[in-house]
């Protein structure tokens, strides 16, 4: 992780002035059009590579196309433009954060679409939170205080991709998803832009209560199955946590290159 952080620091130092500007001008972006977001500054490609986030011109085109096709499939499933998708894995460390971030990035590749990645998994800090600039509170802080919505929506350095981090960790996470405020937040951010896709990075199926609660707010759920790591029973149980209509499908993650595409 130190290498990633080093890379970030380097990238920040390159664009430090603009990052500061970004954070100070949050307000101006909130009500802006997608076109305005086009002007998001681009994070260095090396940083994205280290954070395992897809981008144009990346070395491994196979992964790039895999995420694009996944994105396309998901968009095709919905007629609703403002789609809210929950990504959860059957096991902790199953790769839900990785898939959620890349899915959001893949959606953001489309110039007409924006994506918002919401980290609902308070157990660990995902790689993508390293993209955030100056940190001033996350989801928990918003739900537990009077922080304005604008303050918790961060630029990612990737065009048309915004991130809401988890925020200060607290033990009793589960209670937050029952709050009316959380529901309102989702409604609000959904309606902010047309063609906005909200990706919830949910905790693993080891927290079934969270998954059930979160599934109430989303249009679809996607289950991440880690390659060769999880037992069939557990996967079956995880897939049944959300209703059949919302269970849109599973994604098998982390297939070694030599077995991929077989």
């Amino acid at each position: 992780m130190s290498k990633i952080e080093d890379a970030l620091k380097k990238s920040r130092s390159d664009n430090s002035t603009e990052l500061v500007k970004t954070s100070s001008n949050v307000q101006s972006y909130i009500n802006s059009d997608i076109s305005l977001m086009e002007y998001d500054e681009q994070v260095a490609i090396g940083v994205l590579s280290n954070l395992k986030i897809i981008h144009y011109g990346m070395k491994d085109q196979k992964i790039f196309s895999e995420f694009r096709s996944l994105r396309t499939k998901l968009i095709q499933k919905s007629e609703n433009t403002n789609l809210c998708i929950m990504i959860y894995s059957s096991l902790p460390g199953g790769g839900s954060s990785y898939v959620a971030a890349n899915l959001a990035a893949a959606i953001a590749l489309d110039e007409k679409k924006t994506s918002l990645l919401v980290n609902c998994d308070f157990t660990c800090k995902p790689d993508y939170e390293n993209l955030l600039g100056q940190y001033h509170g996350g989801l928990i802080d918003f739900l537990s205080s009077d922080l304005p919505v604008e303050d918790i929506i961060y630029r990612s350095g990737i065009k048309r991709l915004r991130i809401i981090p988890a925020g200060s960790t607290n033990d009793t996470f589960s209670e937050y998803f029952t709050l009316r405020k959380f529901h309102e937040l989702l409604q609000q951010i959904k309606g902010r832009y047309s063609d906005r896709y909200i990706i919830l990075d949910a905790p693993s199926a080891m927290n079934p209560a969270d998954i059930r609660l979160l599934s109430e707010f989303v249009d679809f759920g996607v289950l991440i199955v880690p390659y060769g790591k999880d037992s069939l029973d557990n996967i079956d149980k995880a897939s049944k946590l959300i209703s059949k209509e919302k269970m849109i499908g599973v994604v098998i993650n982390n297939i070694p290159e030599i077995f991929a595409g077989k």
């Binding site: 290498k3 590579s49 280290n50 395992k52 491994d60 196979k62 992964i63 895999e66 995420f67 096709s69 996944l70 499939k73 998901l74 790769g95 990785y98 898939v99 996607v222 289950l223 199955v225 390659y227 060769g228 790591k229 999880d230 037992s231 069939l232 029973d233 996967i235 079956d236 897939s239 269970m247 849109i248 499908g249 599973v250 994604v251 098998i252 993650n253 982390n254 297939i255 070694p256 290159e257 030599i258 077995f259 991929a260 595409g261 077989k262």
Partner: protein, 509 residues
């Protein structure tokens, strides 16, 4: 074909995923195998086969005479003999264990280990193999040789002992039966002396007598009945007859004689003169008769006066009466005789019946005694014959003719250790090192299937698979992965090198 590929994938996928574990298991198993192979104690086995002949030359000759003790499971019997206390104790000496003066408990432990390392098997119909394994080849050889020698010696002793004990047993039985026989004879003798009247055929005799007596009684009774009837009829007749019949008295007779003579005289006077001699004689006779008559009458008168009985010859007994009376007397006498005889015969009959009873009882006893005697006699005879057979068997065994035992293949000095060798461990290690992880994964997949791709998934759960994502490998990770592969390869190579070196050392050293 597709199935085979599936199986290969089933093994390859987890093996690749957990390649570290695969290599780790491979390395550990191989190192353990080498260590085990190195430290595996060298064991030397020496063996010897003993030929045991079932039939001997004397066998057919003595058929039916000598009872040959059968040896069926030779291996088992050999084991019994070899593992016996006596031989084991001697083996302790032979093997040199006693040099350390072990206490009884230690001896017991050593004996147990000797027994555990000794294998006695039937290798052929008449061949028994005895093999012993020990870390010391010299000891292995010595003990094997000792075991075989002691076994052969022991077998002869055993057999001789067996025959002798058989003989002794039969001998004892013979003596027992001799006593019994003697007792039976004694019992018979005593019985005979106590039942003197009881002889052979006594019963028939008695029966004959009884029937004779019975017929006699019948006859006598019949006679008595007849005599009684006769008596009754005689008595009836007697009552009808007078006792005396009125006969001519003497005087009368004289008068009639006188008259008769008078008439004769008269007749003669007609033709003769008074002088005629005949007339004279007659006249004399008449005179004489008259005189006699007077005398007679005088006697009677006199008798009447005196009151004495004068047997008047003219009153005579009635002859019929007399006759009847005599008959009656006779009949009475006869009856009395008959009664007496009847009584006697009846008494005799009772005696005979009593005797018959006694004879019957004695007969049952005699039969019992005789039967006992016969049985004892038979058994005794049979045992006598058997004892002689046993004596012959015993003599055969004593001269070691009954059992033919010889060493077919003598014990040898083991040059090469037996049991698994180093090379077996090496190959075993390599195979196990590969099979163990693969088998583990295969088993795991059978028990708790893991999901490797969309096909796997959809085989179990009917949820669409939206995508299969390859691993995102960053450049840093790529380097790390390469290093990992190097390390793993190196581990495998070094293990192989270790295997080669140790094998070489082992073979040359």
């Amino acid at each position: 074909m597709k199935n085979n590929i599936d199986y290969i994938r089933l093994i390859l996928q987890p093996s690749y995923l957990h390649k570290r574990w695969v290599v780790l298991i491979f390395v550990i198993v191989n190192l353990l195998a080498i260590a085990a192979g190195y430290n595996w104690p060298k064991k030397y086995t020496s063996s010897s086969t003993v030929y045991i002949e079932e039939e001997n030359i004397l066998g057919p000759l003595m058929q039916g005479t000598a009872v040959q003790s059968n040896v069926i499971d030779r291996g088992m019997i050999a084991r019994e003999i070899i593992f016996g206390r006596k031989i084991m104790q001697e083996v302790l000496e032979i093997g040199g264990w006693m040099e350390l003066n072990p206490d009884p408990l230690e001896q017991e432990i050593i004996i147990d280990s000797i027994q555990a390392n000794t294998i006695v098997t039937n290798v052929g119909r008449n061949l028994v193999q005895i093999s012993y394994t020990n870390r010391d080849p010299d000891r292995a050889f010595k003990v094997t040789k000792g075991l075989v020698d002691l076994f052969i010696k022991g077998s002869f002793t055993e057999k001789a002992y067996e025959s002798e004990s058989a003989f002794n047993f039969i001998d004892k039985q013979v003596k027992e039966y001799e006593d019994k026989l003697r007792a039976s004879e004694e019992a018979l003798k005593t019985f005979r002396s106590q039942n003197v009247d009881f002889r052979e055929g006594a019963e028939e005799n008695v029966t004959q007598k009884i029937s004779q007596y019975r017929s006699e009684i019948d006859a006598i009774e019949q006679q008595i009945r007849e005599e009684n009837i006769k008596k009754a009829s005689l008595q009836a007749q007697l009552s009808g007859e007078t006792e005396t019949a009125a006969g001519l008295s003497r005087a009368e007779q004289i008068r009639s004689r006188i008259a008769e003579l008078q008439s004769n005289l008269n007749t003669l006077r007609l033709s003769y003169h008074e002088t005629y001699p005949d007339i004279a004689q007659i006249k004399n006779q008449i005179i004489e008769l008259r005189e006699t008559l007077a005398e007679e009458e005088e006697k009677r008168k006199q008798a009447k006066r005196t009151g004495t009985l004068y047997l008047d010859e003219s009153v005579r007994a009635n002859p019929v009466y007399q006759r009847l009376q005599s008959d009656l007397y006779q009949t009475n006498t006869l009856l009395a005789t008959l009664e007496y005889r009847l009584k006697n015969i009846k008494k005799s009959l009772a005696e005979e019946i009593e005797r018959d009873k006694r004879i019957n009882a004695a007969d049952a006893t005699l039969k019992n005694l005789t039967r006992d005697y016969n049985v004892n006699y038979d058994v005794y005879q049979d045992l006598l014959r058997r004892r002689e057979n046993a004596r012959v068997s015993m003599n055969l065994d004593e001269e070691q003719q009954g059992l033919n035992l010889r060493i077919n293949e003598p014990a040898y000095f083991p040059q090469l250790p037996s049991g698994p060798r180093f090379i077996h461990f090496v190959f075993g290690g390599i195979i196990l090192g590969i099979v163990l992880p693969v088998g583990l994964f295969y088993g795991m997949q059978q028990i708790m299937p893991r999901i490797y791709d969309a096909n796997d998934f959809n085989a179990y759960i009917e949820i669409p698979v939206l995508g299969e994502l390859s691993t995102y490998v960053t450049e840093n990770e790529q380097v790390a992965k390469k290093i990992e592969v190097y390390i793993l390869s190196l581990s495998v190579i070094s293990v192989i090198v270790i295997i080669i070196i140790t094998s070489y050392l082992r073979l040359t050293g």
